[in-house]
Subunit: 243 residues, 4 copies
Amino acid sequence: MLRITVWNENFHETTQPEIAAIYPNGIHGAIAEGLAARLPEASIRTATLDEPEHGLSAEALAETDVLLWWGHMKHADVADDVVERVHERVLAGMGLIVLHSGHFSKIFRKLMGTTCSLKWRNEAERELVWTVAPTHPIAAGIPSPLAIGQQEMYGEFFDVPVPDELVFVSSFSGGEVFRSGITYRRGHGKIFYFSPGDQEYPVYHHADVRAVLANAVRWAAPAPGFERMPEVSNPARDWFVQA
Amino acid sequence: MLRITVWNENFHETTQPEIAAIYPNGIHGAIAEGLAARLPEASIRTATLDEPEHGLSAEALAETDVLLWWGHMKHADVADDVVERVHERVLAGMGLIVLHSGHFSKIFRKLMGTTCSLKWRNEAERELVWTVAPTHPIAAGIPSPLAIGQQEMYGEFFDVPVPDELVFVSSFSGGEVFRSGITYRRGHGKIFYFSPGDQEYPVYHHADVRAVLANAVRWAAPAPGFERMPEVSNPARDWFVQA
Amino acid sequence: MLRITVWNENFHETTQPEIAAIYPNGIHGAIAEGLAARLPEASIRTATLDEPEHGLSAEALAETDVLLWWGHMKHADVADDVVERVHERVLAGMGLIVLHSGHFSKIFRKLMGTTCSLKWRNEAERELVWTVAPTHPIAAGIPSPLAIGQQEMYGEFFDVPVPDELVFVSSFSGGEVFRSGITYRRGHGKIFYFSPGDQEYPVYHHADVRAVLANAVRWAAPAPGFERMPEVSNPARDWFVQA
Amino acid sequence: MLRITVWNENFHETTQPEIAAIYPNGIHGAIAEGLAARLPEASIRTATLDEPEHGLSAEALAETDVLLWWGHMKHADVADDVVERVHERVLAGMGLIVLHSGHFSKIFRKLMGTTCSLKWRNEAERELVWTVAPTHPIAAGIPSPLAIGQQEMYGEFFDVPVPDELVFVSSFSGGEVFRSGITYRRGHGKIFYFSPGDQEYPVYHHADVRAVLANAVRWAAPAPGFERMPEVSNPARDWFVQA
């Protein structure tokens, strides 16, 4: 049983009718719907900013194998203690998938240690997502390019650590490029950042984008036996012989 | 002109006579002495925890190209705003060299995003530091192994991100291994972690260790033109053509 | 169905009684036995140097998902056209696991592009294999350290490309260290090099070593849909839109 | 003194007047001219396919610190023993810069171990070369994007090992992307592949391209003390203590 939580700040959909028209069930609802269709073995719940503890209580996190994160305008409103809790849970093995403007979320910046800044331009450009690691599980079955008709441009330099794996690179009509699908391991947890997904375009209804997210969830699920934080220890000499 | 600041919490030396005997001028003094002998072009200052702003005022940092960091018992006493300031300065291009028990410092954990936990055992074991990247500038002229007669053991698993470059791997008498010389790039800054250096042993008087630190300082110095934080920007289409 | 071929030059076992005593069914036999016990879903065959085409005909390779390779004295006797065939099959997606002295095999050097030289000393030293990537599938369930009572020492500098992933690092009684478990992706194929396994010691009877090899076979199995060589192509503009 | 050899198959320029019009002194001549203007400390020679030993005798290589390689139609005509000699010299520390269609040269494929295949389309598209590692020495002073008005398109998937460092990523008018500036370390040698440079366009007259090549030559120059092949050795126990 794969336990998924889709988190969304849920702000644009509830305050802008034109966004609500694209995502009548919220961005989280669209993402959850796409995952449900592709991961029948999974248990999927959603959580949003306005819930108590943002829907990310210790109990909720303890029962989450993979967390997806969409945020944009409300990064500052996410409580620090919740961020700390999510951070610990990632280091303890929970998978984390950070989406689009989540690059500036507290949790992503805390895990990366950098500004996570980038170039952007919102002019409904065509984004082409090219696979540069064709045998990576997250790219399985994904066309190269994955073509998105209209998207916000995100461009380099993307100020993140050099990724452990570079899976996708995007180009935009205006000519910019972006490392749009990148993986990291932190502690016992696996992290995937995927940049497509501005709220103004129906990106999370796109079948190929949904397939990427389903692949990513499978990939990010914790390794068996690793649901605990890495710990400092003070072993005796030859402890391994005595054991 | 290469401007170096050697920072030290300066606690063991001022409270434990046996440590003061090893480092009569402090660990920072011994490190600065070793650098001065090898980097005649450099301007070297030291800074300690008990100075105002820990000796790391905005002005001091603005005039520092490479910062070395030694801390152990007093990580929690380092003010968060100073850590924030050092973090920003690293992302803006300042080199950072983190030493030994500095693995648990606020600044290193903030840059890594992980627990930075490890195994340890203080039984005066022989540490052998082997070069696995022989052409790396930090390994230039360093014997492989670099042999340290007595040291605290640091062992894997070391919970850090996969390094950008693995330069040194150590073994200890008890059989453990440790990734003892590792590099990272974060923002515009370069980071080197080097694990030898427990306060109970005269490690920073060791000629080869001093040579590693001098190499590391040269390597970590900022790239020309990069003394600024990476920034978000919102360029017009074809801005590069118009420019 | 996972199809495995275990290849061995089968020289020591057939010419030295003391080696035959350790491996009465050959090194390949011991490896196959260990895999069979752990991979009940697999079809396992062995192949040796003295068979026609070394047991690696085009047909045999076409029906192999993962190839394990043990060689030592007879690297030069492996026919170049067979090496070429194995190389193409790896690039087309077949997994390859290279063992111990196979570091100097034609196929490994062809895939690495380097000398693959190292330090060695055969004095029955204790090897401790430490995990530095605890959540990697190849490390699943493997104790850290994995202790091997007697082994030939392999030491750094190991002249291979920087691995895609560093899974294991070994230490030896004499103090040397070695990157003993490393992964590479080449073309569509996955490669794992694992250094324990000198013919003079019963390494392939060791339960934990057998578990590593079983993990590695599972990990190296081809990604679905990638059983073909990467190809050059000359697409029309906007071919992806027309398609 | 930095000793540079610029190698070119010199075929298009000597058989196609329209190419000769772009490169009256050959592609090698244009590259050498660009380097000479930027590296006044360097000694620069050129070598071509039709010279004895292709101008790459043992003596010539022994006096070369960095070799640049341009080839396209005549890869198969390069003698295997010369390729072997260049390969050994790279592993012994010589820098190698492989240009454009040199991705299919014998020497590059031998060093990579893969097919080095890619997508291509020659329709005079605009290439934009974006920097993704802004502090890398090869990117120093290079605008991002570096804009090339007309170029052959090279697109992913580029079948090479995951680079040690990804410095540049290109986009093309048709929408494709390419990892256009990548580094590798092999043995003691440093390798840089840079994809712009089709013979039909005056790419090597472009000031920014020339600046990239000058940066790359400086970066690829051998590390002091490493002009020798990595070697196998059989040290005694504690040789490092006895020494």
